[in-house]
C-alpha cells in the first residue's frame, strides 16, 4: 500500500480540529499536547517563546517556519531533551515539565532527529529491536537468563521484520546501520520509533537529505501513521510536503507561534507570507535595490497571475 511506485492517492484531510477562529494559541477539540508559557533563551537570544499551543490528537500537524525560528528547540523542550527557562506542558493530561526524556518516550511520545541518529555499529535489526518497549531482557538480572526473554525477543523480532518490510529495509536487516544511505537511515529511524508503539510521533525534518524518489514513500508512511490512529507532529520548512499531508499547520518565527490553521488558509495568511517571504512581500527587492526598473517587475507579476 505504501509504495513509491503507485501514484499518490490524495487522502482525506482531518478537519474540525479547532474551536473558534484559527489564530495562534487556538483551543483544540481534542488536544494531545497543551503547552503554556514555554520560554527558552540561549545567552540572551530568545529561541522559543510560546504563550499557548495545543496539538490536535489523531491528526498530522506540521510545525513550519524559517531556519532559526525555534522549531527544533521547541521539539527538544517538548520531548525533555532540553529544559526551558519557564513554562509548563502536558501530554495526554500528564504534566511533562521536568520529566526526563526517556520517561517522556515511555509515555508514548517518541521523536526522531533532524540529523539521523541511526546507531551505526548496530545492525539494522538490532536498531529496530532497541525500539521496543517493556523488554524483560533489558533489565539487568533478567538479561543473564535467556529463557526469561527469548520468547519476547522473538516476538519483537517478528514485529521488527514486519515494519522493515513495510519500509523496504528487510533485506538490509543484518547490515550495520552505518552502511545505509541517508534516506534509508531516515526510514530506519522512523521505523525504529514505531517499534515503541507510540501515540504521538514527533519527526524533526523527516525529509531533509532524503532523495526525491524516497520522499513520496516517506510521505505515505506518515499518512499511514494517522490511519493507524497515531498523532503526528513534524517539523519541516518545505511547504510542498506540508500542504500535501498536514491537517493542521503551526507557523513559528523568531521563537513565537505566529499563525495556526489548516494548510490552505495558513498559506494565505499574511503573517505566514511575511515569515516566509519577508515582511512586505509585495515589494520587489530588485526594484528596491535599483537592479530592475519598476515596469519589468510589474510584468513579471502579471505573468505569474496569468498562470
Amino acid at each position: 500500500m505504501s509504495s513509491d511506485l503507485t501514484a499518490p492517492v490524495a487522502r482525506e484531510k482531518t478537519t474540525g480540529l479547532h474551536i473558534g477562529d484559527a489564530k495562534p494559541g487556538v483551543a483544540k477539540t481534542d488536544p494531545i499536547i497543551i503547552a503554556d508559557g514555554v520560554r527558552r533563551t540561549f545567552g540572551g537570544l530568545t529561541a522559543v517563546d510560546v504563550e499557548h499551543l495545543e496539538i490536535p490528537r489523531g491528526a498530522i500537524t506540521a510545525l513550519i517556519g524559517p531556519n532559526g525560528a525555534g522549531k527544533t528547540t521547541l521539539f527538544n523542550l517538548l520531548t525533555g531533551f532540553d529544559k526551558p527557562d519557564s513554562g509548563a506542558w502536558t501530554f495526554e493530561g500528564h504534566s511533562l515539565s521536568g520529566v526526563p526524556a526517556y520517561k517522556v518516550a515511555r509515555l508514548g511520545q517518541v521523536r526522531t532527529f533532524q540529523l539521523t541518529k541511526a546507531l551505526g555499529l548496530l545492525t539494522v535489526l538490532d536498531n529496530m529491536k532497541l525500539g521496543a518497549k517493556g523488554q524483560v531482557g533489558e533489565r539487568f538480572w533478567q538479561s543473564l537468563f535467556p529463557f526469561l526473554w527469548r520468547k519476547q525477543d522473538h516476538q519483537i523480532e517478528e514485529r521488527a521484520f514486519e515494519l522493515l518490510k513495510k519500509f523496504k529495509l528487510d533485506e538490509k536487516s543484518d547490515d550495520f546501520a552505518a552502511s545505509l544511505s541517508g534516506g534509508q537511515r531516515k526510514l530506519l529511524e522512523m521505523a525504529r520509533a514505531l517499534m515503541s508503539e507510540p501515540r504521538l510521533v514527533m519527526l524533526d525534518e523527516p525529509m531533509a537529505g532524503v532523495n526525491p524518489a524516497l520522499t513520496q514513500s516517506l510521505l505515505e508512511h506518515i499518512l499511514d501513521l494517522k490511519d493507524e490512529g497515531m498523532t503526528v507532529l513534524f517539523v519541516e520548512h518545505d511547504m510542498h510536503m506540508v500542504r500535501h499531508i498536514a491537517d493542521w499547520v503551526v507557523v513559528m518565527a523568531e521563537g513565537r507561534v505566529v499563525a495556526e490553521g489548516d494548510p490552505i488558509s495558513v498559506m494565505k495568511n499574511p503573517e505566514v507570507v511575511d515569515a516566509y517571504l519577508g515582511a512586505h512581500q509585495e515589494i520587489d527587492l530588485g526594484v528596491v535595490t535599483g537592479r530592475y526598473p519598476a515596469a519589468d517587475a510589474g510584468k513579471n507579476k502579471a505573468s505569474k497571475e496569468s498562470k
Binding site: T72, T73, F75, N76, F81, D82, F113, Q114, L115, D204
Partner: protein, 434 residues
C-alpha cells in the same frame, strides 16, 4: 536530590576520616625515609622520659613534612639533599600542658622551638630540643595562612605556565594531551643534562633546555599530531595515543636518569626571611618573577599579536579561521612550540619547588594541570590561568587542615565537585540536541 545527598554523605565521611585520623593515628614516626636517602631524626624527652605524639614540622628545600614521635619519643624524616639546611619546628601545642621548648643556659633565642638542621656530608643529622616548664612559642594562624597563600600563589603561577599551554593545544586541536606532563619533565631533565651533565652554568642551561623543549613540541606536532589530524583521527583515539606517548616518554626519562631524585644547582640555597613567617631563597624569588613576567608576556602575545589573535580565532571556530585565510596548521605548530617551551619552563621551576628531578615528576603534575584547565573551562587560556592559581592556592592552603601528604588530593576533589554542578565545565558551552 538523592545525588547531592550521596555526595554530601561521601564528603562528610571523608572529612570525618580525616579528623579521626588526626586524633587517632600515632605511629607515623618515620616519614619518607625510604623515599629519600638522607635523614633528620631526633628524640623528644622531658626529664629523660620520652614524649609520644609530639608533632614536628620539617621544612626547606621543598620538603614540608609533619611527623609525630613514637612511644620512645623518636622521629625521623627522609630528606632529598645533603649539605643542605632544613628548618625543624616543634609544635608546642602537642606538648603536655605547662610544658614548652626552652632555651638552654644563656641563649636568648626568641623561638627556641624552631631550629635549623644542617644535613652534612654524612647525610644524617639529629635535632633535639630542650623541653621544660615555660612559655610556648607558636606561629599564629594568620602567619601560617599568609605563608601558605604566598606559597600557593607561587605554585599556582608555575602551574599556570604549563596549564595555558595544555589549554591552547586543546582549544586549537581538541587534543587532551596526557603527554603534557612529560613535556614538563623534559624541560627539567634537559636543564639537568646541560648543567650537571655538560657543566654549563645554570643561566645557560635553562635557556638551552627551553629551546629544546620548544623544538620537541615542533617535532611532536610535525611527526605525530599533524599526520593524525590529516587522517581525521577521533579525539578519543588521539587522547589514547597521547597516553602511549606519555608512557614511552616517562620510561625513556627513567632509562636515562634512573629512578632516583637529582637536584639542580642551587636547590640547597638558604631561604631568606621576608616577612611574617614567609621565607624564600633567591632562586625562589627569581622563579616567581620569571613566572609573572612570562605569563604577562604570554597574555600580551595572545591578546595583541596577529598570531595570538589567530590562535584565539582557531580555538573559537577552526573552520571559520581557515575560511579567513589563516593557515591553521602553521598556527597550531606555533602553539605546540610555545606550549611545549612553557611546559619546559614550568618543569625547571617545579624542579626547584619540589625539589629535585625525577623521571615521573610530570605525571604528578599532569593531574593538577587537568584540574586547573577543567576548572577554568577546557580550551580557554585565561580560564586555565585563573584555574591554575586557584589550584595552587588550594594545594597549599588546604594543608592548614588536612595532612600535607594529601595536599594533591584536595584540588582533585574540588575539581570533581565543581563538575558536579557544571557538567560542561565552568566556561564550557552546552550543545543543542538534534
Amino acid at each position: 536530590m538523592p545525588t547531592l545527598a550521596l555526595i554530601v554523605a561521601f564528603l562528610a565521611t571523608m572529612l570525618a576520616f580525616t579528623f579521626l585520623a588526626g586524633v587517632g593515628s600515632a605511629s607515623a614516626d618515620e616519614i619518607d625515609t625510604d623515599k629519600y636517602q638522607y635523614r633528620i631524626s631526633g628524640n623528644v624527652q622531658l626529664d629523660g622520659k620520652p614524649l609520644e605524639n609530639i608533632a614536628l614540622t620539617i621544612a626547606g628545600n621543598g620538603v614540608d613534612t609533619t611527623v609525630k614521635t613514637d612511644k620512645n619519643g623518636q622521629w625521623a624524616v627522609g630528606v632529598p639533599e645533603k649539605n643542605a639546611t632544613y628548618t625543624v619546628a616543634l609544635d608546642e601545642n602537642t606538648l603536655p600542658t605547662g610544658i614548652a621548648v626552652v632555651n638552654d643556659a644563656d641563649a636568648t633565642d626568641e623561638t627556641p622551638n624552631i631550629k635549623d638542621a644542617e644535613v652534612g656530608p654524612g647525610g644524617r643529622v639529629t635535632v633535639n630540643f630542650f623541653i621544660g616548664e615555660g612559655e610556648r612559642h607558636v606561629t599564629s594562624f594568620a602567619d601560617q595562612l599568609v605563608e601558605r597563600i604566598v606559597n600557593g600563589l607561587r605554585f599556582g603561577l608555575m602551574l599556570a605556565l604549563a596549564a595555558v599551554g595544555i589549554s591552547l593545544v586543546y582549544g586549537t586541536t581538541g587534543l587532551s594531551n596526557f603527554a603534557h606532563g612529560e613535556m614538563v619533565t623534559f624541560g627539567a631533565v634537559m636543564t639537568l643534562v646541560f648543567s650537571r651533565g655538560v657543566g654549563l652554568p645554570i643561566y645557560l642551561a635553562v635557556p638551552i633546555a627551553l629551546v629544546l623543549s620548544g623544538f620537541i613540541g615542533y617535532v611532536m606536532d610535525a611527526g605525530l599530531w599533524r599526520p593524525l589530524r590529516r587522517r581525521r583521527t577521533g579525539i578519543v583515539q588521539l587522547m589514547i595515543v597521547s597516553i602511549g606517548l606519555s608512557l614511552a616518554a616517562r620510561y625513556t626519562f627513567q632509562y636515562f636518569i634512573g629512578g632516583s631524585t637529582t637536584q639542580l644547582v642551587g636547590a640547597d640555597q638558604r631561604p631568606i626571611q621576608l616577612f611574617g613567617s614567609v621565607s624564600m631563597s633567591i632562586i625562589d624569588m627569581v622563579s616567581v618573577v620569571i613566572s609573572i613576567v612570562v605569563i604577562v608576556a604570554f597574555a600580551m602575545w595572545l591578546l595583541f599579536t596577529r598570531i595570538g589573535k589567530a590562535t584565539r580565532a582557531i580555538s573559537d571556530n577552526p573552520s571559520l579561521a581557515a575560511a579567513s585565510g589563516i593557515d591553521v596548521d602553521r598556527v597550531v605548530r606555533i602553539v605546540w612550540i610555545i606550549s611545549s617551551a612553557l611546559a619546559g619552563l614550568a618543569g625547571v621551576l617545579y624542579a626547584y619547588y619540589r625539589p629535585g628531578i625525577k623521571w615521573d615528576m610530570g605525571a604528578e603534575f599532569l593531574l593538577l594541570l587537568f584540574a586547573a584547565v577543567t576548572l577554568g573551562g577546557l580550551g580557554t587560556a585565561f580560564g586555565a590561568l585563573i584555574g591554575a592559581v586557584v589550584i595552587g592556592l588550594i594545594v597549599e592552603v588546604s594543608t592548614l587542615w588536612i595532612p600535607a601528604d594529601l595536599k594533591f588530593a584536595a584540588p582533585l576533589l574540588v575539581l570533581i565537585i565543581i563538575l558536579l554542578f557544571r557538567p560542561q565545565g565552568i566556561l564550557g558551552r552546552r550543545e543543542r540536541v538534534g
